[in-house]
């Protein structure tokens, strides 16, 4: 897309979107070069809440980094917990009991639903709809209450341990989760799809807007719902299975259109798939301990380790380099939104400002995770 010829003027001006702007969901600044209402060039400026988690990882022992993981993607914190636990377990050769793996999957998927609900609410708020936020937060609150029961915190969880999880889940959590799924299932068709998905105003705002091609996703390394909304059937849970995901029957929603509507639909379908996974995991939940045997002080063999998990926003990779010491020698966090946002400049070129904001919302940005 480019600026229509008859509208092209000789004069451009620079517009700063952010760093404090409601549509950027955090402190992201986008330097826009505008020709009237059209974007000539868009340049995201990052780093406003950069905290250098990677240096903090090098400074402490392995276990000390676990609380940090939740401070990056605070919306899907348990997936970041999980990713860090997985890479250290891989490096140190720690076994995880089966019950703990199931509990990890249940809590991570609950957290994924919460993340998608919050994205849904915030995205529609960007587009000017306030009511959906109240419905979504009503449901999200139930998840947060459930997770608070087992993890002890409401947002920045530190629940996973190397070799298991902190607390076992109890009957109240199990019945509460089943009730929640029943409730969300009954609400999805009316409060979510009838009110919003089939709403003509939403369709006009996001259908055929913000087109991202599959090839663009590959060149920029975009993953998660952004890639799946462009027809790429890639989900770490299926393509590079970890934990006990292979034991569950679930689908990966893929929409080939590549527009903002496709990304919207991917996330809405993922909520349903996550509920399927949770139900199966609760049905099959094995008995046993939730914590395996792990040495108090870890000293993994020297080497290069990588592990990937699927967060609500895409592939989260941990590249861990060990030198045989009790600290990580080097940790690189490959956060999904960093790569997803990098294609914004190319796609937003020639867009109307209002459309670009809708497009940015459909990318589901979490700034602390980009800036790390």
């Amino acid at each position: 897309m480019s600026v229509p010829l008859h509208l092209r003027s000789d004069e451009v001006f620079v517009l700063n979107l952010g760093p404090q702007h409601p549509a950027t969901h955090g402190v992201l600044r986008v330097k826009l070069t505008m020709d009237g209402e059209y974007i000539v060039k868009a340049e995201p400026v990052l780093g406003y809440i950069h905290r250098m988690h990677e240096k903090m990882a090098e400074d402490g022992i392995f276990a000390q980094f676990m609380p940090n993981t939740a401070r990056m993607d605070y919306l899907h914190a348990l997936a970041f917990n999980h990713g860090w636990a997985l890479v250290v377990e891989k490096a140190a050769g720690i076994e995880v009991p089966e019950r703990a793996e199931y509990i990890r999957v249940i809590t991570v998927e609950l957290n994924r639903i919460a993340s998608h609900l919050l994205w849904w609410a915030a995205f529609l708020l960007d587009l000017g709809g306030f009511t959906p936020l109240l419905y979504a937060f009503d449901d999200r609150e139930k998840i947060i209450d459930l997770l608070e029961r087992v993890t002890g915190s409401r947002l920045t969880y530190c629940y996973m341990r190397f070799g298991g999880v902190l607390n076992d889940i109890d009957d109240e959590f199990i019945t509460g989760t089943r009730d929640f799924i029943k409730r969300l299932r009954s609400r999805l068709p009316r409060q979510y799809h009838d009110l919003v998905t089939h709403n003509i105003i939403l369709i006009k705002r996001i259908k055929d807007i913000g087109f991202v091609s599959a090839e663009q996703c590959r060149r920029y390394g975009a993953t998660g719902p952004v890639a799946r909304g462009s027809g790429i059937n890639y989900d770490v849970r299926k393509n590079e299975p970890y934990s006990v995901y292979p034991e569950f029957d679930f689908d990966i929603p893929v929409f080939p259109e590549g527009d903002s509507m496709a990304r919207y639909m991917v996330r809405m379908h993922e909520i349903e798939q996550s509920m399927r996974i949770i139900e199966q995991a609760l049905d099959k939940l094995p008995a046993g301990p939730v914590m395996g045997k792990a040495p108090r002080q870890l000293k993994p063999d020297a080497g290069y380790y990588y592990s990937a998990v699927e967060t609500a926003r895409g592939l989260l990779g941990h590249r861990l380099v060990c030198d045989g010491d009790k600290n990580p020698y080097k940790l690189k966090l490959r956060s999904p939104t960093f790569s997803n946002l990098s294609l914004f400049g190319e796609v937003a070129e020639g867009m109307l400002l209002a459309d670009a904001l809708a497009f940015m919302g459909s990318l589901d940005l979490v700034i602390p995770e980009i800036d790390r």
Binding site: G47, V87, G221, I232, N239, R319, D323
Partner: protein, 179 residues
Amino acid sequence: MTICEKLQQALQPLFPLCDVSSEPLVKDEPQVADSEKEESQTADTPTVGVLWTDAGRYGHHLDIVCLPDQVVPVAGIMDREGFFLEAITGVDWLKRQQLEVVYDYNRLGGEHCRVMVRTFLPRNNPVVPTVSSVFPAADWHERETYDFYGIQFQGHPNLIRILLPEDADFHPLLKDYTP
């Protein structure tokens, strides 16, 4: 033929001295770890070549060590074989006076194959060609690596700070950095 074997064949012209077409060297032995240990003691750069690793243990299938000027041709082969660039990062080997650049490649769907490409640079003059002309994803990742390690990516269109303040005069992930 698996994707990894196909890739190994495509890479062979770049590493003529190494017998890369032979049978996979290792499938379950932790050879990489052992060789790394020796290297850190003997202060030698790992030999250039392609090594099979146990993906279940290490998370990547191929470990490629190349010379700095081979980074772009390797990226070109990765592009042709349908890989995408996951991340670029650095590692500071202070004892050996070397900086390492690590590229992680992966595939979007189909058969899973993760490839780690590494190259070593002298610590006092870390310069490596940019791969941002092959993968636009490299643009931000290289800026980040420059930001944290001071590694110069030659030919990068816009090599400025990305996460740190624009007036920062330090590279915090260097092992001898003290705040």
